[in-house]
């Protein structure tokens, strides 16, 4: 059974590598946030899998739970950024030289 868990752990790592592509290359900042969120979810699962491999899951569930919570906070925090800065491009940063992006709805 242990080998199966290790194998699935490695497979999850490979999926993370693919999700990392979105995190790193975007193209937009929100794609990056999405990629990070996906990595976060996979990490939660992987933590429990590692716990199962160590056969001490009782010690790992707390970490996984804390992890899920903090991942949630990070995602909410990142998305709330756009309640204040309505532009996904870095060039039009802040509001000092704010120009409405294409298709902006709120103006």
């Amino acid at each position: 059974m242990s080998n199966f868990f290790i194998a699935s752990g490695v497979v999850l790592c490979l999926f993370m590598l693919l999700a990392l592509y979105r995190t790193i290359f975007g193209p937009t900042i929100i794609d990056r946030m999405m990629g990070a969120n996906i990595i976060g979810t996979k990490t939660t699962v992987l933590l429990i899998i590692i716990g199962t491999i160590y056969e001490r899951v009782d010690m790992f569930v707390d970490i996984a739970l804390a992890y899920a919570m903090l991942n949630f906070i990070v995602t909410i925090g990142a998305s709330r950024y756009f309640a204040h800065h309505k532009n996904i491009r870095a060039e039009g940063y802040g509001v000092l030289n704010h120009t409405p992006a294409k298709g902006q709805i709120n103006d």
């Binding site: 290790i6 990056r32 709330r80 950024y81």
Partner: protein, 341 residues
């Protein structure tokens, strides 16, 4: 250790680290850095360092990423290359890091193999901690017993470092003369936000009590499972950050105002230092908890150590919780305490 996962994650970490400093958008860099911390957390668990992983999950992946968002929110996202002298700085950086890398690789040839049970690090001091912790402190979590007792003095100063950081942020931003909220334009934001964020707010209302309860469990159960004062304190602080993010800063500040925060933070470290000083007054050395059995009812020397560690952890949790809030509140509002993320 699980070497298959170890190799995978280390490779991912290097990729993440490389791009965290090369992405041309600060918010993006912060997100990639967050992902980097996620992976770090996995690396620690895989090597069996559960307490480190817990701290990394709470501090590295959670709070510090949010702090980056807050700082970018208050400043700008733009990254510009140097106009002149870029090559000089690049050359300098490459030279210095190449030199350091060379030295470190050179040293690594002499290291004992990774995960070798016979290496000096694993055979000199640590066997004592592993075999004696139950007998000497009755705490099964060896990390907690070493952290709060054998090396409790380090931990006291570590708490003092946290407090110092909080006070430093306070003195730099809050009292730093500039009280304007920074370059943010708010357009009838309150009405819009209340309407838009009803889902997030609803979920937050459900999650926050659960989180705080969990944090208290982490503090109290640190003797038997990973966790303890720092981790619990950070999660408590993070729950207030979640409130501040999904409602607004005022909401979190109404819970714990500025003066109370300062008092609580100092109380936390004073609990720690006070327990140590109590030992000194009772005639033992500083932080020698075993003497406390004289004043704690129905304990022997070993149980006194265990109980004192719990007290110490509570002090740590108090300080860390408040300081995490202070740092976040100041950075997100540029010291004005007006508008948050």
């Amino acid at each position: 250790m699980i070497w298959q996962i170890d190799i995978m994650i280390l490779t991912l970490i290097v990729i993440c680290g490389l791009f965290a400093i090369s992405v041309k958008d600060l918010l993006g860099a912060a997100v990639v850095f967050g992902a980097y911390s996620f992976l770090m957390c996995l690396l620690w668990t895989e090597m069996g360092a559960v307490d480190v992983a817990f701290t990394e999950a709470a501090v590295g992946a959670g709070v510090s990423t949010v702090l980056f968002f807050a700082a970018v929110h208050r400043s700008s996202r733009q990254v510009k290359a140097r106009v002149s002298g870029a090559m000089l700085y690049k050359g300098l950086g490459l030279l210095a890091s190449g030199l350091m890398g060379g030295v470190l690789f050179y040293a690594s040839t002499d290291f004992p193999d990774w995960a070798d049970p016979a290496s000096p690090a694993s055979s000199h001091l640590s066997p004592h901690f592993i075999t004696q912790t139950i007998a000497e402190t009755s705490v099964p979590n060896i990390v907690t017993s070493v952290l709060a007792d054998y090396r409790g003095f380090d931990t006291m100063f570590e708490t003092a470092v946290v407090l110092t950081a909080g006070l430093a942020v306070l003195i730099i931003l809050r009292l730093g003369g500039c009280r304007t909220a920074g370059p943010i334009r708010e357009k009838n934001a309150a009405i819009q936000a209340a309407y838009k964020d009803s889902i997030i707010r609803f979920v937050t209302r459900m999650v926050v009590p659960f989180m705080q309860l969990f944090a208290l469990y982490v503090v109290a159960h640190g003797h038997h499972s990973p966790g303890g004062g720092f981790q619990g304190g950070v999660i408590l602080g993070a729950s207030f950050i979640l409130l501040a993010i999904s409602y607004d800063l005022k909401m979190a500040l109404n819970r714990i105002n500025e003066k109370a925060a300062l008092l609580l933070a100092n109380t936390g470290v004073l609990i720690y230092g006070g327990i140590g000083f109590l030992c000194l007054l009772l005639g033992a050395n500083f932080l020698d908890y075993s003497i406390l059995h004289r004043i704690l009812p129905a304990t022997d020397e070993i149980a006194a150590r265990s109980h004192a560690m719990l007290g110490v952890e509570i002090g740590v949790a108090l300080t860390v919780m408040v300081i995490v809030m202070i740092i976040y509140n100041n950075i997100v509002s540029n010291g004005s305490y007006e508008k948050g993320l």
